[in-house]
Symmetry: C2
DNA sequence: ATCTACTGCCACTGTCATAGTTACAGTTAG
DNA sequence: CTAACTGTAACTATGACAGTGGCAGTAGAT
């Protein structure tokens, strides 16, 4: 493993909200689809709300809805909303300053790792929730045909 | 944070081995530069050896050396030698099969995440240890000039 | 007014990966 | 035989994470 599964949860939830776009979903409904927990869902959707991707209403009949069109939300948006630190982690301690190599490795690695992370983020930014939803619907149609 | 710092340690060690290419280094020497522990270094260099990037000799006077030219070792080589699983982790549990979205999300995310990870790996594959070493030496020359 | 169904949030648990450390057996040069 | 290494297993401490229960706040339904 590496990172948390929060990105997966976030993208899953966003796609569900896009699928049932006309009405809001509760954290319990989303948790059911994830085979997970409403509190967990609320925590992650809370981050998405802070990032302006969704909004929520309290009280009876409340729930969650998208704050933007699905085609205006990329996987990168979801990813950066819920994931904190860098992917490729740096030295646990700063290396020794007495070593000619150690003196510079931190700065060099920082540059290399940032570039590599940016490449990944750039790729995530190319896929939108709308794109994912389209694939989900296509797969559902296929299933419907097979079960006829 | 995200992943382990093993990649950083591996790249650091490889660069040191390239810098002092004529003779081998002990795990204690490398650990000193990392401000870390010889056992940790041996564990990580062990993975690099399994991947064919370095070799080691036991007994007195033993130590570690590169098994290839520095320009033939990329950061991706080091990364995949020491890092096990995927970066972007998937759902903790498989989602509910009863949900039209949940049924398909795992496969779709798998494809998206693999593409994103590949983009990162591709970027890491573009930088070699030789490139890093060149930068270290350049920075050392600068320092030498300033301290004159 | 009260009930019901939500969000929001805190505190806690169990689990797991990792960094770090100690210990010791095996290997090799002096 | 001794000193200096590698190789490896066992252990600890730390921290991130998923998951859970509890409870205050909010708002529609009756």
């Amino acid at each position: 493993m590496g990172l948390s599964s929060r990105s997966a949860v976030a993208i899953h939830a966003l796609t569900m909200l896009a699928r049932w776009g006309d009405h809001s979903l509760t954290s319990a409904e989303i948790a059911d689809s994830l085979a997970s927990n409403p509190v967990l869902v609320r925590r992650i959707l809370g981050s998405l709300r802070d990032a302006g991707l969704v909004w929520s209403t309290e009280g009876r009949g409340g729930g969650w809805s998208l704050a933007r069109a699905p085609r205006e939300i990329t996987l990168y948006d979801a990813y950066t909303a819920v994931e904190a630190g860098p992917i490729l982690s740096r030295h646990a301690h700063p290396p020794s300053d007495a070593c000619a190599v150690g003196r510079h490795m931190q700065a060099l690695l920082e540059a290399e790792f940032r570039d590599a992370e940016r490449a990944m983020e750039e790729r995530l930014g190319r896929t939108t929730i709308a794109h994912l939803l389209r694939q989900v619907l296509a797969r559902e149609r296929e299933l419907a045909l097979q079960n006829r």
